[in-house]
């Protein structure tokens, strides 16, 4: 799926926090990092915890339900083998744009 979707304005996500939104029927979470943006599926692969509500560090997020931690660049769990899908996200012309990972990429990841 190669469409870019505008999900919000950059100011809509607070610094070092995440917020979720539905894109093409799929709830994803967008994170504002010190050096840019990251986007993953909103649901934690463990038990669906809202990753957007997790604590965000320079490049990882910790799920608020059972503290699984995921690298926001690769989607891989740190200290475990769960994987959460990561999506392309960029800030341009005053907007935040997301392109969902292709299902194929998903399988590789998972």
């Amino acid at each position: 799926m190669s469409v870019w979707t505008r999900i919000a304005g950059p100011a809509d996500v607070p610094y070092l926090e995440g917020r979720s939104v539905v894109v093409a029927g799929r709830r994803i979470a967008a994170f504002r990092l010190p050096d840019g943006w990251a986007a993953t599926d909103a649901a934690c692969p463990h038990e669906g915890g809202p990753l957007g509500d997790g604590i965000v560090a320079d490049s990882c997020v910790t799920c608020p339900l059972h503290q699984r931690r995921f690298d926001l660049r690769t989607g891989r769990q740190i200290g475990g083998d769960d994987v959460v899908a990561v999506h392309e996200i960029e800030e341009r012309d005053g907007g935040l744009w997301v392109r969902l990972a292709a299902p194929a990429a998903l399988e590789n990841a998972a």
């Binding site: 996500v13 607070p14 926090e17």
Partner: protein, 809 residues
């Protein structure tokens, strides 16, 4: 040598556990199944007394956490007993009928308490001291008992008598012969021990042969009758005269059984596929009743099981009395051809060394002064030869852990020698006593060797202080280090701190802790940032398994008005909330609230936040006290509401729960709260460090004061002391265990320091936010309560302002 069936271990005691671990350290693949007759995972029977002393739990005695068995690949069946065994076909049948297969089976069935065939020994009120159920029974009986009698003056009886006396029960210790612990002690030592035990409030009666337990009118035990015609009134009898090995299963299996299950030096029984280890085993005619030999046996048994040659040549009997204030250690023979003694009757100390004429050390008795016990036990174990026994005794009393040979067994409970501990510290780069205990198990038994473990650690670390818990493990920063930085650079936010030292940047897990520390140090100057907080503290509600939140308003002292109750009902209806629940904290919980609904729900409730989601002061539970209760000694409600008002809004290292109760009946559970006030006849008791959650601990009595005002002051001073010194996520019950009551009293009860604490408390209190729910009027971010595609259920701020509602910050 193994087909697929592997090893079956019968009996989940210390022996069964030791065998499983010894096998696993040698072979990680062979299937191992452990069948535990008791309902618990293997626990430390040695510390069973804890269940009599402080209301400890069996879980606290666990030899290994639940996770261990899965990680180690050991299949455990608890609460199931093996009914029959057929080693020829390699099968075992459980009482449930299930059949297990194995190649080799190890009997670790231990023993039962020995109950001599006394008339009346089956009466109600006659207990033994062997497992948790016995402890529960003894505790229950002790509460109402007028007088307790313990039959048996050995290690076990002494421990039981001491425990009962400590519970405040009048206790008499009955012993058959003319001296206590006759198996381990010589006459002079025993003579000194008797007064020491009497000093603990135990009435000791020697040379008393119990003839029968007498029944009262109620059919329960009411007394003891002795051979000499005398008798003793007592409504609780604890029989602690010895053990009876569990050999039934072995006998039915056709194995050779004498007093115990007979094994050879490889721990193999009369059937080549069956081994036996522990208190059920009889080796070279001896059945050991202590832990140390079990570990030696388990090692050899594991080698035998895995087809490696090894031999167990017996163990030197050693004994350590686990009775506070009575140091007693014995090893080997208490008497012999050549003896040297250093005794001071006045001081109640007695140190004796027994050697052969040639000076081979055969035994040691240390009473009242156990210095150098490890060194002497080792001398006995290895049969050290000494020209001058007196000099060896003297040397021992000076000996530090440094002088111990590597072979010296430091932990007798878990059979860990100095060499193993030092190696673990070096290889694992261990930094704290607790780490060493966890890794080596030394000190995880009766705990009496922990000081030596600490000493070894200090030597290894060249005196360097124990490694502290890190507040930010990624950057190895301690709470102290971060605190200094905050002071020196006058840091007021987590981002500033991250810029200064990198704390919180790598995994982020420590950010809430950093945030708390800066807030605690900087009070009003602190600039909070939501990214450094858990979601709970960003939206002031507790996240639930389905991503919705719970709302628990402040209900001081558990007292509500009819009008508030109406609002709860209306809110629940209006927002169609799935549940209204009375919490365990005397409050009301609205569950299943969506993040977006929070501001509106708060507004309609019109009550302040109960901080139920935060590491902060939670509740102050109260009972009705003098206001209504016929037993009331203090106005618990007023004092509790008052105390909650004084503490609410303050963040703390971990949550803080308090209670104020009107009398020692303790309806408000003040004994098991972080802070508990108990009204007594003309005064108040202040308890701290209590808990009744994951662990149960009665609070320590910090002090007793005359007025509620003083009690409140002490409570607030303690709260501030904990705020300043508790580690992040360290509950007060852990804090008290770590620093100790005396240390805390020295600070909190010292008039000058108390004033200082109360001043700093006042500053913090002034700076804290009593009701973060007012952020509904001034969100820290437009999307504080919403996702990108949702809107907070609209609060019309303009209208509110017009209506003159106070709008916060």
């Amino acid at each position: 040598m193994f087909s697929t069936h592997g090893i079956l271990v019968i009996g989940g005691g210390i022996a069964g556990q030791a065998v499983c671990e010894a096998v696993r350290t040698r072979d990680t693949d062979v299937p191992v199944t452990l069948v535990c007759g008791e309902d618990h995972l293997p626990y430390d029977r040695v510390r069973l007394g804890d269940l009599l002393a402080d209301d400890g739990t069996v879980d606290a005695l666990r030899l290994r956490p639940d996770g261990w068995y899965e990680d180690a690949g050991v299949t455990v069946l608890t609460g199931s007993r093996v009914a029959s065994l057929d080693p020829d076909t390699g099968t075992a049948t459980l009482e449930s009928g299930t059949v297990l297969h194995y190649d080799r089976v190890v009997l670790c069935t231990g023993s039962d308490a020995l109950v001599p065939p006394l008339e009346g020994s089956d009466l109600d009120g006659v207990e033994v001291f062997r497992d948790p159920a016995d402890c529960a029974a003894i505790l229950g009986a002790a509460r109402s008992a007028r007088h307790a009698a313990v039959i048996g003056g050995g290690l076990l009886g002494l421990e039981a008598a001491h425990a009962l006396a400590k519970l405040g029960t009048a206790t008499t210790l009955i012993h058959l012969v003319d001296r206590l612990m006759e198996r381990q002690l010589d006459a002079p030592a025993a003579k000194l021990l008797t007064p020491a035990i009497a000093g603990l409030g135990v009435d000791v009666r020697l040379e008393h042969a119990t003839k029968a337990v007498l029944a009262g009118d109620d059919g329960k035990a009411a007394g003891l009758a002795f051979a000499d015609g005398t008798s003793l009134d007592c409504d609780l009898v604890v029989v602690a005269v010895g053990i009876r090995p569990h050999v039934g299963l072995a006998r039915e299996t056709g194995l050779t059984v004498e007093r115990g299950i007979v094994v050879d030096d490889r721990l193999v029984t009369s059937h080549p596929h069956v081994l036996a280890v522990g208190e059920c085993a009889q080796h070279r005619g001896v059945v050991h009743g202590i832990v140390a030999p079990i570990h030696d046996q388990a090692q050899v048994a594991a080698d035998t099981l895995l087809g490696r040659a090894a031999a167990y040549e017996g163990s030197i009997p050693t004994a350590k009395l686990k009775v506070m204030g009575v140091d007693l250690v014995t090893a080997g023979a208490a008497e012999g051809e050549r003896e040297v003694v250093v005794a001071d009757a006045a001081a109640g100390t007695y140190r004796k060394l027994v050697t052969s004429p040639e000076g081979v050390v055969l035994g040691a008795v240390l009473l009242g002064d156990a210095r150098g016990a490890e060194l002497l036990m080792d001398a006995v174990r290895v049969g050290r030869v000494t020209e001058d026994p007196l000099a060896l005794l003297a040397e021992a009393s000076q000996a530090t852990a440094a002088e111990l040979p590597d072979t010296a067994q430091v932990c007798n409970c878990n059979g860990v020698c100095k060499g193993a501990i030092v190696e673990a510290i070096r290889d694992g780069g261990l930094g704290s006593t607790q780490e060493v205990v966890n890794v080596t198990r030394a000190g995880a038994g009766c705990g009496s060797c922990k000081p030596v473990v600490t000493e070894l650690l200090q030597i290894e670390r060249a005196g360097a202080a124990e490694e502290p818990a890190y507040l930010c493990p990624c950057r190895k920063l301690t709470r102290e280090a971060v605190g200094d930085l905050v002071r020196e650079r006058d840091i007021v936010s987590v981002s500033e701190l991250a810029g200064a030292c990198g704390a919180g940047r790598d995994c982020g897990a420590c950010k809430p802790g950093l945030s708390y520390l800066i807030e605690e140090r900087q009070a009003a100057k602190f600039r909070q940032e939501r990214h450094a907080k858990y979601i709970n503290d960003r939206v002031h509600a507790n996240i639930q398994n389905d991503g919705t939140f719970s709302v628990i308003p402040r209900i001081r002292g558990g007292v509500v008005t009819a009008d508030e109750l109406r609002r709860f009902a209306d809110v629940a209806d209006k927002y169609e909330l799935p549940m209204i629940k009375i919490t365990g904290g005397q409050r009301i919980d609205l569950l299943g609230v969506r993040k977006e609904q929070l501001p509106a729900v708060w507004e309609d409730l019109g009550m302040p936040s109960g901080y139920a989601y935060a590491k902060a002061v939670r509740t102050v539970k109260t009972c009705v006290g003098t206001q209504f209760c016929r037993f009331g000694l203090g106005d618990a409600i007023t004092v509790g509401i008052d105390l909650e008002g004084a503490m609410e809004g303050l963040h703390t290292p971990h949550k803080v729960k308090a209670a104020v109760t009107g009398c020692p009946r303790n309806c408000a559970e003040a004994y098991v709260k972080d802070i508990g006030l108990v009204a007594i006849e003309n005064g108040w008791e202040v308890y701290v460090g209590g808990a009744a959650g994951a662990s149960v601990r009665k609070g320590d009595l910090l002090t007793t004061v005359e007025t509620a005002e003083e009690a409140k002051r002490v409570a607030l001073a303690y709260l501030q002391h904990y705020r300043e010194h508790g580690e992040h996520l360290e509950r007060t019950y852990h804090y008290m265990e770590r620093v100790g009551l005396e240390a805390v009293q020295a600070v909190v009860l010292d008039p000058e320091q108390q004033t200082g604490l109360l001043e700093r408390y006042a500053i913090a209190k002034a700076a804290c936010d009593p009701d973060p729910w007012r952020e509904r009027y001034a969100p820290v971010h437009p999307n504080q309560f919403s996702e990108l595609d949702s809107d907070p259920e609209g609060l019309d701020l303009v209208a509110l302002a017009a209506a003159g509602m106070e709008v916060a910050r």
